[in-house]
């Protein structure tokens, strides 16, 4: 056991942590598919899936078995390479973003100096998944979905970045741990309320969750960009969406709600509770709102959210400069 130097111990620990966090994220995404259906059922005066196992707890297993054994069909008119590549991008880009999330003082995969920027980069790459998927499918509905997705994501990523610059300006760092530590006394939701609002909206838009699910818009585009996907390729898009939800919730918690900070309970519980709250909020949002029209979504982004973030950034910058310390 001589090779087990402290360096190696740290390495192994880090690898173990990474594995647990990434698997946890995927698993949570998968479980969320069932939780969402149960919660929507609760709010819609019906049961939701409650047949498989006690209280429907094994529904996920049944879904998994089903989705793995479905025919994995690639349409003959599809561009094979891109068609196969895009679900992988969808899943990978979101999962990789998890490495910057500090869960507790001790848990977290990477402590990057450019933490936030890494997330923006990954979110940028995520657009390609939708774009490639829609284009490679050779389907008109998918194409319109992809078109909507690229336009929407482009517009919303512009101010998603700017919305967080207030937080960065106050902390003086892109590093996620430092951002969390800076909130020990006061969560950033208070000084950065408008930043929070716009980031929340952008976060929903980037994950294509209702009411910003324009690229999928079941009633209009019959599932949009992933209409030709089946089996696990569809599953990766599907789970990817939920992983995105977890990611955005975790980011909101980290950036605006003090991360693991909280009285009495251990840090990990606080983190989980706060994240869970936003996950449920996402689901509730889906259950309660109609879908705005696509062009309205765009003009809302450019005409309301972008000016709001800019004003927020200006004011924050002025305050940071004027108030010493």
């Amino acid at each position: 056991m001589e090779w087990l130097t402290p360096q190696w111990q740290a390495n192994l620990l880090a690898m173990g942590q990474a594995l647990v966090i990434l698997l946890g994220a995927v698993l949570l995404g998968a479980v969320l598919t069932v939780i969402e259906r149960r919660l929507l059922g609760l709010w819609q005066d019906r049961y939701g899936p409650n047949r498989v196992g006690p209280f429907g707890s094994l529904q996920l297993v049944a879904d998994m078995i089903k989705i793995f054994f479905k025919e994995d069909w690639i349409p003959p008119f599809a561009d094979r390479t891109l068609f196969v590549l895009s679900p992988a991008i969808a899943m990978a880009s979101l999962l990789l973003s998890f490495i910057i999330i500090p869960i507790t003082p001790g848990w977290g995969i990477a402590d990057l100096h450019i933490g936030l920027l890494f997330f923006f980069a990954m979110a940028g790459i995520n657009v390609y998944a939708v774009l490639f998927g829609g284009w490679a499918s050779g389907n008109k509905y998918a194409l319109i979905g992809a078109m909507r997705a690229s336009a929407q994501t482009l517009s919303y990523e512009v101010f998603m970045g700017l919305a967080l610059m207030g937080v960065v300006a106050i902390t003086g760092s892109f590093n996620m741990r430092e951002i969390v530590n800076a909130q020990a006394d006061l969560w950033f939701i208070v000084p950065q309320f408008f930043g929070f609002c716009t980031f929340l909206i952008a976060g929903i838009a980037v994950t294509h969750r209702h009411p910003f699910d324009q690229p999928e818009a079941e009633q209009e585009l019959a599932d949009g960009y992933h209409v030709e996907y089946s089996s696990m390729k569809f599953g990766m898009f599907f789970i990817g969406e939920y992983v995105g939800m977890v990611l955005v919730s975790a980011l909101i918690v980290t950036l605006f709600f003090g991360g693991w900070h909280g009285p009495w309970l251990p840090p990990v519980v606080w983190f989980a509770l706060k994240t869970g709250f936003f996950l449920i909020f996402f689901i509730l949002l889906r259950g309660s709102l109609p879908r705005p029209r696509y062009d309205r979504v765009m003009s809302f982004g450019w005409k309301v959210c972008l000016p709001l973030t800019l004003v927020n950034l200006l004011v924050t910058g002025a305050v940071v400069l004027l108030v010493p310390g």
């Binding site: 709010w43 194409l143 319109i144 818009a217 709102l289 109609p290 879908r291 705005p292």
Partner: protein, 591 residues
Amino acid sequence: MDEATTVTPPANTGYDIYSALAQRFGDEHFVRQDTRTGMPVVWVTAERLIGSLQFLRDMSAPFNLLFDLSAVDERLRNNRQGLPASDFTVFYQLMSIDRNADIMLKVALDKDSLRLPSCVSVFPCANWYEREVWDMFGVEFTGHPHLTRILMPPNWSGHPLRRDYPARATEFDPYTMTLESQQADQEALKFEPEDWGMERERGESEFMFLNLGPNHPSAHGAFRIVLQLDGEEIIDCVPDIGYHHRGAEKMAERQSWHSFIPYTDRIDYTGGVMNNLPYILAVEKLAGIQVPARVETIRVMMAEMFRISSHLLFLGTYLQDLGAMTPVFFTFTDRQKAYEVIEGITGFRMHPAWFRIGGVMQDLPTGWEKLVQGFLDWMPKRLREYERTMMENTIFLERTRNVAPFNTREAIEWGVTGPNLRATGCNFDLRKQRPYSGYDNFEFEVPLAANGDVFDRGQIRIEEMRQSLRIIQQCVNNMPAGDYKADHPLTTPPPRERMLQHIETLITHFLQVSWGPVLPPNESMQMVEATKGINSYYLTSDGNTMSYRTRIRTPSFPHLQQIPALMRGGFVPDLIAHLGSIDFVMADVDR
């Protein structure tokens, strides 16, 4: 509500219209026909047809709504004394909102020259009707912009509503499908923009042709609409119907007057017994049956129950088409409550087929008042909730206000009736204007709106549900005593009480139950304010146990025809919103 918006001369009496026509075009071109349709029926020669239609459309208080256009194959009809010789008769039923009156023009055609000038230039909504006549009878309309099959597949041969066309599967050769025939069928369904005078590209941009349906989440059944898109903007679109065609009108010619009742249930399948009503009333006009007040009131009550049930389905799907996933579950909970009442009274949920010639199937069950009252107490707060959560939602308002709007003139031009017409501010509700089945005894209001957009079409239906609840409440409070069947020889099934006492009664009873009632030769027509608009049955009896011709005019048919006129220049999401707001079911379109 006695609005003075409509001048109401005694409806449909007298032939002053006939005299006006005769004066204008000469006596020799017109022949009157006495029917029980309740409107003047005038035969006109083919050369004066378009002139007469134009004259009627442009006169003061005009007949500007082409209500129906179809044909009758007269070759096997025995009882047509005093009528002009005709193998095929094409009829045009026009309606005047201002006069609250109708007129029917008929044109006689010889089987060797089945040709008429098209009247699309006079009434744009004649387009689909003329295609249907061509499809079903093989009558050619010269000058029609696109005379192709509409209900049958494009490569079909034969004209199904002709009397010599077989009605039953056993009369055909066995059906076989080969790979070639399947491919030919598929090929025939392919959309060719050139057939519809559409460009594939204009200038720099190439258009996308998007095939929406027949399987699509928002198509409300097997409905197909091909969109010519520039980005997401709809340049033009072509609705394609017929996927739900079951030949109900043909079946009517092979079913007894009585046994056709269940088929009517399935015309507007969300309307239940509301569909029985116009058919039964038209049959009763032919038979000369007066039903007791109790029967009328029971019928009104059940029809209004189905109006609510249908509007609830509308509301749920309408909101769902706008992206709100939750309301549909709530409206289905409410529909379930309605169905509990309907099931308790009729014994069936969606298709009770519960009205009978001369009555209803059975009397109301003991305790029905409590059942109905429970529903009446449940609904109002739910309706309020829908308004609060959805109709006042900002996103919702943005999606619906000023989307796919049309005014009263356009509505009439396209044959739009019912709530969609009233959403434009036109106060025309048959329950008020031409009360049938005792609607004049009820107090209720006719909800109106002003803008005729997607929002108004939704809001007006919520209001209509409130009025229907009012009507049902009055039924509960004032249900007349009496029999649930009329005392008339043609009441079907006939009363059994005296059947086992007299041999004559037994024989009559036996004949009526086995053959079905024989109705005197004549023609009758009844319209009702159905769930989706005006639904009418125009029956021709040749003195037989079966109808000679049953024409079913449904509201959804013209409503779908109007779509391209509204959607040009709109966005795909607007189309979906409009489709949701029309409130159609394909069974009601295709019959």
